[in-house]
Amino acid sequence: MVLRVASVAFAIALSLFLIPFGSTFPATGAPAPQAQVPDRTLDDVFAQIAERFPGFGGVFADPATGILHVYLVDPHPRTAAAVVAALRQALRPGSIPVALIQPVRGLFTFRELKAWHDRMQDVLALDGVVFTDIDDARNRLTVGVQDFALVPAVEGELARAGVPREAVEIIETEPVRLETSLRDQHRPLVGGLQISFTSGRNVFLCTLNIVAVRSGANGFVLNSHCTAKQGGVESTVIYQEIVASGKEVGVEIADPQYFRGSPCPRGKRCRYSDSAFAQLNTGIGATLGAVAKVTLNSTAWDGNAAFRIIGEADPVVGVTVGKVGRTTGFTQGNVQRTCTNYGVLGTNIVQLCQAQAGYSSSGGDSGSPVFSIVSGDDVWLRGIHWGSGGVFSPIGGVQRSGTELGPLTTCFDGSC
């Protein structure tokens, strides 16, 4: 199947005439004046050429030989050259490569293929049909399906449309998916996705840490500074991915106040973690113990691949950790400091007993799950990222009782 898909994709690419060629054909090598074709598809242009040359059945370039093949019902070199010249005039300069021209006998004219293709548009309405195409490299119509089990349904639709079966090739292919990222809307929720909230006129973007259970409530962990007020519950509404109606996913229900007094430095307010907990809204799906798995230094995510949290661990100097965040994606580095007190610039806040690692991050990565890969996709959760330079709150600090969130269930199977 892979080979077949590849060959079709190749043929489609060829039909767009994007492949440069080194060969020359003196009779038709002169540059043509630029044509204005802004509102027509390539098929429309071919159909127009087919009006002038009724036997024309399509054209494609062979990258292996550099030869331009022109399908003609009655192949003749002079007609082929005239077709190519007409195409050069009708298309943008450079669309048709300068190359040797080879007429090839075709069974169907492009006018026939175009008419049949227009009539079979409802084939794409069948679930599992990926594409329909006038295949210029094969002088046929092509229907791509996800599964050959769909062939009878496609054939039925072709028959209803009056399209001869022998003019159609049905191939198996992968569905076309839009490339999505951590910044897009995803359900169920997992760690690493973009979340947002408002405060006054401002919109803020952060990253969902992990889906978790706290005191029987299903929800997710996020940074305390990713709520309307750092420290204290003000029922901040959390959205995924952007602030918009219908994208609400949770409401802040836990965000312990910052405390004063020992061991907090004089004049400062302290906590052992920058963490809060939001309860899931009714009907919002979320996957316990899952973190979006993206490739290194990427934010592209297919909505499925996931790291699986199988345990929790404290950060130790020298251990490699990674984080997944909406801005810089999956980045890794070694733990460089543990149990370090950090002042937060521009505030009187001190985060006690934090860790710091050498992974990169940027604005919007706040809340990123920090973890170590144990084996394959299995990871140990180590904390929640909050600060520039790879500063994060260890998971042990997040789950302290009293001043922090207390015990959480974070593992995929509920075992931790």
Binding site: V203, H225, V344, G387, S388
Partner: protein
């Protein structure tokens, strides 16, 4: 904490349409001119007495006729740098402290300003008092796609 490698150049799709003012400093090559939509101005005294706190004020202003979406990288999003005339860094407001990695989206109306403040206690990054003389001041605002820096301004600490 704020090296260029860490910040990278993550282009925000919306803000990218607007860029920016003054110049984008550091982080990936020479300064490059940009259309004047946002301008950054540093307001600071020209002379101070030894030991006197130097109040620094940074103003980010939308000078375009249209609303501009600013994606402010980190909280706080701004920073101040003091250098000697030869360019050696003496003090940086953010030195030794962490910045929260949040991303703030703020739409500035035409002529609207955002103001950021800081104080230089006339000490270096190690906390030692600095000597009288000439210093160069600069303010920075971090945006999702890079840093916006003010023009440098001279400051003289009187003998």
């Amino acid at each position: 904490m704020h090296d260029c490698a860490r910040r990278g150049i993550g282009v925000g799709p919306l803000l990218a349409a607007f860029l920016l003012s003054s110049y984008l400093a550091g982080c990936g090559g020479p300064a490059r001119p940009a259309p004047p939509a946002l301008v950054l101005q540093l307001v600071a005294p020209e002379r101070v007495r030894p030991g006197e706190k130097v109040v620094l004020r940074l103003i980010l202003k939308n000078v375009s006729p249209n609303p501009v979406e600013a994606r402010l990288d980190g909280r706080p999003t701004h920073d101040f740098i003091v250098r000697r005339p030869d360019g050696t860094e003496v003090w940086r407001w953010s030195h030794g402290q962490a910045v929260q990695d949040i991303l703030q989206i703020r739409v500035l109306r035409p002529a609207e300003e955002l103001a950021f403040e800081g104080v230089w206690p006339q000490r270096d990054n190690n906390g030692r008092p600095v000597a009288p003389g000439m210093y160069r001041l600069q303010g920075i605002v971090r945006l999702e796609q890079g840093r916006l820096a003010s023009a440098e301004q001279n400051l003289t600490i009187l003998p």
